[in-house]
Symmetry: C2
Subunit: 399 residues, 2 copies
C-alpha cells in the first residue's frame, strides 16, 4: 500500500505563483509519493480544469461529430484543443476576432488551448522554407503562400482569444541526426524567446487572461531535451509543452524523452505532452509528471471503427457484433452505451451513417475522460502506484 | 374571417372507429370549414401524434446526423419514417426482430412508419422483374437477388414492429402512358388486397397494435387515381397513403392528384402523402385533406447547404455569410439557432465537418415541424384559410 500523498493546498485559489500578466494559474492539490504524478487545478478565464486532463481535439473549431453541448454538458469537457494552422487558413484569424473570438465563434463556454501551427506546417503543407525569422509555407487547401513567425502566431492566437497559446516550434520528423535535431532545437528556442517577448509586449498593451507555453523539442536525444527544458525554464513561462512526440518513434522512447526533462521543468507549472496517447499509456505519462494531454486517437479511431472499452478494444465492423444487443461497454456511463447496441452501431458503421461517428466519438471520449478521472482519483487517494501496476498488467493482456 | 371550425371530439380516446385488430386509431379534432384541412390525433402503441404531421425520414434506422434524443427531446418528433427496402437488405428483418424490433434496435421511443419498399425497388435496384406475385430485384449494395411479395413485405414490417406498415406498391416513373399506368395500378390493387389479407391473418394469429396502409397510385391520371381510391376504400383499412408523387412531375399536378381522391378516401381515416414537399407547399397538401407527410428535403437540403428560414432560403456557402454573426433564423427556437452563427456554419460546411450536417439538419427539421405546428394551430383556431393565403403570397415573394 502506498503512503498517503502529500497535499499542497494553495492558500486561496487566487494566490498562485503567477504575477500580473499571468492569469492562467496552476495549483497542485496532491502528489504521488512514489511516481512524479500530481493532481492539480488549472484556473483559466473560462473555468477551472482538474488535472491530469485529457483535451479532446477540435482541429477546425469542432470536435468531429459532437455538438458543443454534447461536449460540455454530457461529457463534462472543460478544455479542448483547436488548431492555429487550420483556423489561420480558414476562416482566418481576423474573421474569428471579428466574430467575437474563438469561444463565441464555436459557441464553446469552457477553456481553449490552441497549438502553434508548427507541427501542421511541417506535416501538412507543401513547399516550405524555414529561416530564423519563421517559416514560409504553402496552404494545403489552395496552395497559397503564407508566413508564420513567432510573433504572428502569437497574434493569431490572441485574435482567437485562446486561453492557452503555444509558441511556434520547429518540429522535426523521426528519425533525424543529432546535428539536425540540435539546429532545429536552437531555432525553436530562439522562436520561443521571440514569441515570449512579443506576447509580453502585447499583454502589456492589452492585459487579458491568457497563458503562453513554449514547446520542449530535441527529437529523441535526451541531452537536447534537457538543453531545451533548461533554456525554456529560464523563460519562466506559465506552463510548458513537450512536443515532437508521436512522430513515429517507439513508445518507450517517447516516455524516455518526457522523463529526461521532468526534473528540469518548474514543478509548479503545468506540463503538457502534445499528441499522446493510447488509453493504456495515459497513466504512464502522468507518472512522469504530465498534467495535460491531447490526441486525435479517441475521435479518429472511433470514426474508423475502433472503440475503446474497459475490457479492451471493440472493432465494430466484425461479424460477431451483427446480433450483439449489448452496449459497447457495459461499464460505460455515456449516452451511446445507455441507448445503443453494438449491433446498431455496426449497422450504422457499415451503412456509412453520420450518426455512427457521433455516437462512437462520444463513447471513446467518455472512455478517455473516465480514465483521466480514475487516474486523478488514484493520485488524490494515494493509490496511484497500485493503479499504474493494474493498468500495465491489464494492457499486457489486451495488447 | 373564417367561421369557427367544427369540433369532433371522440367520446374517449379508446373508442375510435377501429375494431379489434385495429389498434392504431385516428381522431379528428377540428376541421377547416373552407378547405379540406383537419387537425387530429393519431393514436399508436408508441404515443399519440398531433396531425397534420411531418415525419422526418430515417432511411437506415437513423435520421442522418441526429441522435434519437435530439429528435425526441429537442425537436419533439413523435413519429419518423424508416425504409423497408434498406433495412430488409441490411441488417435484415430477422436480425432486427432478434434485436427486439426496430424501436429497440434504433433506440427510438415514439412511433415508426415503414414504407413498403416498392418505391426503392423501382428507383434504386438494378435488374428487376415484376410479376403478379411480386418483384424480383437486385440489391444496390452487392447485386444479390431478392424477392418482395405483398406478403413478404408485410412480414418484414411486422418483424420490424413498425407502428404503421405500407402495402407493397408498383410505383411508376413520370411520365408513363395511361395504359401502362392502368396496368401498374391494377397490379398495386391486387398486391394491396393480398397484403391486407395476409396482414389480417398474421394479426389474427398474433394480435398487436399496428396499422397497414395501402397506397393510392395511378400516375398523373385523375380517373386512375379515383379508380385506385375507390378500390382501396372498399378494403376499409386503417389509413391511406397517396404514392407516386414527387417523381418528377410539375407540382400543380401532384396537388391535383391528391385532390382527385380526397372525397373518395374515408374521411375518418388518416391520409398520408408520400415524399412531399417543400416548406411552402405543406399547407397546400393539408388544405387538400392530407394528415401526414414525409420528405428527405429538410435533411438532404441541409446537408447540401440549403437552409430553410421564416424569411426564405439561406445558401450557407455564399461569401456573404463569411462574417455573419446572426443565427440562420432569428425567429427559430432550435439548438442550432440558439448557439451558432451563419459564419460558423459556413465554416463547418466549407471544411466538410460532420457537425455541419448535424446542426443544419436539426434546424431544417425544426422549420418543418414549426410549420406543421402553425398549420395545426391555424386549423384549430379557425384561421387556416388566412394562413394559407399568407403562405401562398409569401412563397411567391421568396421563389
Amino acid at each position: 500500500m502506498a503512503a498517503a500523498p502529500s497535499l499542497q493546498q494553495a492558500e486561496t485559489p487566487d494566490t498562485p505563483y503567477n504575477q500580473n500578466l499571468r492569469q492562467v494559474s496552476f495549483e497542485i492539490q496532491a502528489e504521488c509519493p512514489t511516481t512524479r504524478a500530481r493532481a492539480g487545478l488549472l484556473h483559466t478565464a473560462h473555468g477551472t480544469i482538474e488535472t491530469p486532463v485529457f483535451m479532446p481535439v477540435g482541429t477546425q473549431a469542432t470536435v468531429k461529430g459532437l455538438t458543443q453541448r454534447d461536449l460540455a454538458e454530457d461529457l463534462g469537457v472543460k478544455i479542448l484543443l483547436a488548431n492555429t494552422y487550420h483556423l489561420f487558413l480558414r476562416p482566418g484569424a481576423e474573421s474569428i476576432r471579428g466574430l467575437g473570438g474563438l469561444h463565441r465563434f464555436m459557441s464553446w463556454p469552457n477553456a481553449i488551448l490552441t497549438d502553434s501551427g508548427g507541427y501542421q506546417v511541417f506535416s501538412l503543407s507543401g513547399l516550405r522554407k524555414i529561416t530564423d525569422h519563421g517559416v514560409v509555407f504553402q496552404s494545403h487547401l489552395d496552395g497559397s503562400l503564407h508566413t508564420f513567425t513567432p510573433e504572428s502566431t502569437v497574434d493569431a492566437q490572441l485574435a482567437f482569444g485562446s486561453d492557452i497559446l503555444m509558441a511556434l516550434d520547429d518540429c522535426p520528423e523521426y528519425p533525424v541526426s543529432h546535428e539536425y535535431a540540435r539546429e532545429s532545437l536552437e531555432r525553436t528556442l530562439r522562436w520561443a524567446r521571440l514569441a515570449h517577448e512579443h506576447y509580453r509586449r502585447r499583454l502589456a498593451d492589452n492585459p487579458a487572461p491568457h497563458a503562453l507555453f513554449p514547446i520542449v523539442q530535441g527529437s529523441m536525444f535526451p541531452d537536447l531535451r534537457r538543453r531545451s527544458a533548461e533554456a525554456l525554464a529560464a523563460l519562466d513561462t506559465d506552463g510548458y509543452a513537450i512536443g515532437g512526440l508521436s512522430v513515429g518513434e517507439p513508445r518507450p522512447l517517447s516516455l524516455e524523452m518526457v522523463e529526461a526533462t521532468e526534473d528540469i521543468l518548474p514543478r509548479d507549472r503545468p506540463r503538457y505532452a502534445m499528441g499522446v496517447g493510447m488509453p493504456h499509456e495515459l497513466a504512464d505519462y502522468v507518472a512522469r509528471g504530465i498534467d495535460m494531454m491531447d490526441c486525435v486517437l479517441p475521435s479518429r479511431n472511433a470514426r474508423n471503427g475502433c472503440l475503446f472499452t474497459s475490457q479492451g478494444r471493440v472493432v465494430i465492423k466484425h461479424a460477431r457484433y451483427k446480433d450483439d444487443a449489448r452496449p459497447i461497454d457495459e461499464n460505460c456511463p455515456c449516452y451511446t452505451c445507455a441507448g445503443y447496441s453494438r449491433a446498431y452501431l455496426r449497422h450504422l458503421f457499415l451503412a456509412g451513417e453520420i450518426l455512427y461517428a457521433a455516437l462512437a466519438t462520444r463513447h471513446n471520449l467518455q472512455r478517455y475522460l473516465d480514465i483521466m478521472r480514475e487516474i486523478r482519483q488514484a493520485i488524490v487517494s494515494g493509490s496511484f502506484p497500485d493503479y499504474l501496476r493494474t493498468i500495465r498488467s491489464a494492457s499486457e493482456d489486451v495488447e
